[in-house]
Symmetry: none
Amino acid sequence: MIDKNSPIPIYFQLEEHLRAQIENGSLEVDEAIPSERELAETFQISRMTVRQAINNLVTEGLLYRQKGKGTFVNKKKVEQKLQGLTSFTEDMLERGMKPSSKLISFEIIPADKQVAQALNLNENTPIYEIKRVRLADQLPMALETTFLPANLVKGLTEDIINQSLYQYIEHHLGLIINEASQEIEASTPKETEMKLLEIESSAPVLFIKRVSYLQDGTPFELVKSSYRADRYKFVHTMKRSF
Amino acid sequence: MIDKNSPIPIYFQLEEHLRAQIENGSLEVDEAIPSERELAETFQISRMTVRQAINNLVTEGLLYRQKGKGTFVNKKKVEQKLQGLTSFTEDMLERGMKPSSKLISFEIIPADKQVAQALNLNENTPIYEIKRVRLADQLPMALETTFLPANLVKGLTEDIINQSLYQYIEHHLGLIINEASQEIEASTPKETEMKLLEIESSAPVLFIKRVSYLQDGTPFELVKSSYRADRYKFVHTMKRSF
DNA sequence: CAGTGGTCTAGACCACCAG
DNA sequence: TGGTGGTCTAGACCACTGA
């Protein structure tokens, strides 16, 4: 179950092990998981290592602790996973749907004023412009236009964007994605949008404009999306920080 | 600076120490804090204890780490205020507009199935139902229906809801508001809604459904709002959490 | 009382990054 | 190469819970 010689950290292996048990129901809600000492003994690892795994699951909200009593499985909020910054692909997978795309155009163009401003670039700086129809379970879900600074997100190909752009940015380019700010509106689609989304006139769309930032604050992505209102609902959680 | 004999955990004392330095500007944005070994040496504590303090600050987003380089102070966002859970009143004030309300109805009714489920109550439990037209700078902005468990949010009057419901809940009832989950959709308004919002047919609205929770997880509020799409844009920021 | 999580120590080896 | 964070160990004492 736990391989001490694996390059994968032990605490992470244990984390996955517990996560699996929670998800497949071997551990029920409000049921105590084995004690830290017990887990350490079972897997022949240090208690501190066990605690690191449990800490992460507590932070994620999957477990909660009670002093003197034990560690227990939390009731899962359905929405819980949906709150992070995710790509369309990740979003659909979390919703249990199969994402796909139809590429409409993919080119390098000079940034117009609006895009330049959003991405904090000079006008006419070369940027990638990628237009796609986004599908979920083969049905049109959204029309999406992505703008990326060509100097920052280098070596982009059709293959890459058909796989996962975020994976490429994080793993191949080694950039750290930090956060995004979004504007969400209701609007009525244009003629061309209606056709691509296969909707009747009069049906509204959810228009989302997102600018995403790296760890150092550099904006690396502007995405404008029009989601079919009958198929898509934006879900998130927010904290009262006062 | 650090008192080992204090009942306050050492890692927490260090946390507060670093937090203060970040907030008063002794440590600047993107500046490296002393290394873990250095902090351990300085305060004569174990490196693991130092890590516990730093871990917490990283989780909170105040610091970020870079392998082989060091631990750095994160920039604080201007947007930060906008992302929090706010009432309509707070929201409008942040946008620089003057909020007001027109009360349509205010009564105690038995919870129907849908409301009961959202608020985790039994059907027919008494709840407040408050319908209001929400105005910003005297113009209709949204139509809002709020549901509150009568047993939890006691002693509600028209005066209170005309002031600030959240203030009342937090300061008079002493309840701690923690978080909310929202669903945001685009839709078309019903006849009655159009009239109250003073909009033409065919104009879409932004429909927001929110359930808010107290610290202990109890849902205390269900709000359904229809915002005029031409006047309202929902803005928020989200983190890439992994 | 025995068992739990909470805190803490004083080491260790690793991979990564800079000069 | 020397310094950084990432991981891990094998102990320890504490306060708290429940029987």
